[in-house]
Symmetry: C2
Subunit: 329 residues, 2 copies
């Protein structure tokens, strides 16, 4: 299996990207195809001549997409960028998946344009795993691909989310909940009331509206939302956690007893932080495009990239795209 890696995308590119990809190549015995500036890539790769050998290729490109570039423009003007070329390798069947920590909007736009939509899919969505109080994470879709949704989009997210959840966990009929501001069917915005009706009528496994509190208790395997609300949800969750950890650090530092307690409790509290660490989940697949395009956080380090490639391998092995195509056959 070959995975195309956008070597130039992300806050810590190319160093952390290549480091994580080399680890993945060694561990999983796959070929990583580094796409980007040839000189920069080879310089990084020179650090891995020692140690366990691994399989790789380099595809040189001359352009780079930054976080400031607009998705609509990159389609026209960045055809020789690392991201564009990496996605093309999947469209050309030269690679089975592409992994990038670069500009998410650009990756979605290029994936949609170059790979195309699965027949029947109105708009692809982004799904991610979120830790819950119970053992397993729940999955949330859409975390920001489609800011303006019609109810039909949300129904499709539910169906694609179920396929993904089944693929990851083996559960035959994952439950689906609609993120909303109240449990009753008539709660929420007009859009959510309509989405609720549609899900109730056409989504097997639909258990109704769920509020954030219930979501964190894993009240549903798959939680669906429009991409605007979903993006606010996930960003609020991340920044609340960050704020809390920051406040705790300050509070523990404010007294000797607190400092000692903090040191003793450190390894335990670290477990919580690790459980919440997005990098353990790597990247998230864009569901609904004809190919595997894994979107990583801009701040991805080597560990995140390693796990993103693990996700890419797993969903490719399990035939994600074929299974999604079957939904509309």
């Amino acid at each position: 299996m070959k995975v195309a890696v956008d070597a130039m995308g992300g806050d810590y590119a190319p160093h952390e990207i290549i480091k994580g990809a080399v680890e993945a190549a060694r561990e999983f015995g796959i070929t990583v195809v580094f796409v980007g500036d040839e000189v920069a890539i080879n310089l990084e790769l020179s650090q891995y001549r020692e140690g366990q050998p691994f399989s790789y290729e380099v595809v040189p490109t001359t352009q780079v997409i930054t976080f400031h570039d607009h998705p609509s423009e990159v389609l026209r003007t960045r055809k020789d960028s690392s991201l564009y070329r990496a996605i093309q390798l999947v469209a050309e069947n030269k690679c089975q998946a592409i992994v990038s920590a670069g500009n998410t909007g650009a990756q979605m736009a290029i994936s949609l344009f170059v790979l195309g939509r699965i027949r029947g899919v109105l708009r692809p969505g982004l799904i991610t795993a979120i830790p819950s109080i119970s053992d397993g994470p729940f999955y949330f879709i859409d975390i920001g691909a489609v800011a303006d949704c019609v109810p039909e989009n949300i129904l499709q997210f539910a169906r694609m989310g179920q396929v993904y959840y089944r693929l990851v966990t083996g559960k035959e009929t994952p439950t689906v909940g609609l993120l909303n501001i109240g449990e009753e069917a008539e709660k929420g915005s007009r859009q959510m009331i309509e989405a609720h009706k549609l899900l109730a009528a056409r989504s097997p496994g639909f258990i109704g509206n769920i509020e954030p509190k219930e979501a964190f208790r894993h009240a549903a395997d798959v939680v669906v939302s429009d991409g605007f609300t979903g993006n606010i949800f996930i960003k609020t969750m991340e920044s609340t956690a960050e704020t809390l950890f920051g406040m705790m650090k300050t509070a523990l530092g404010s007294s000797i007893k607190g400092k000692v307690g903090g040191v003793l409790a450190h390894s335990n509290l670290r477990l919580v932080k690790e459980k919440l660490d997005y990098s353990q989940y790597g990247g998230v697949p864009m569901l609904g495009v004809k190919g595997i395009s894994i979107v990583c956080h801009g701040r991805s380090d080597a560990t995140a990239i390693y796990h993103a490639i693990r996700v890419a391998r797993n969903v490719s092995d399990e035939g994600l795209v074929t299974k999604l195509e079957a939904l509309w056959k």
Copy 2:
């Protein structure tokens, strides 16, 4: 000054409600007017015969509104409920404010119907204080009054939020940020792009879109949003914090070292929990109705009610309604 207190509303009514109101009456030298079941109220009040005297009245009612009652129905069928009568006391100028921890939807509907809207206000909104990493809290509006907003609603929330922030802090021109999924003006849903344009053109102090992370850093004094997104934002924040504290408790209990550390760090971590504790902020005023209607959390204890009455007194003293009316003169 007289504050009407819905003695029957809330998870811990009437006990905690009356306890908090008695404390407030003693501390602030105001009169609390308890509205609700006369027998139940007098039974509770019998506990406070000893100690510092305080001023109170009892207005007996025969009906109760539960959390399951629908706002539209209570308007027709619950005119002798504690909540309805308490709000009427404000409309009749017999009280200067009303405080309830009961059904929020019902309180908003009755306040709107009985007190009426301030001339010029399209839809009243709910504002709340949220702790930030910096010293002072920022204020967020709307946390759930208006699920379906047009951009003009959001502009009005911004203006009313600024008046409230000025009243609480004394800052002449509070800054305003629009909660959104990206900083650039063209980010977000169509609704938010339009709201951004309107705020940029007509809201002095508008600093642009802000993401949740920036909100917690107090990037703006007043953060505005539609009520659906705002309710998801605040509930996600609350439940992330609860989930984290739950996980930490479990993690600290998993080893001796963790347990000892947890005990030592307890008082420090408690500070963080207290900083996040909504009950310190009491209740939140409904902005845009012709009267002071303070909405409290259903789980409000005596401390929350005490602080809610403090808020009621302060905003009454500062002439909140007159200041809001001036916006549309």
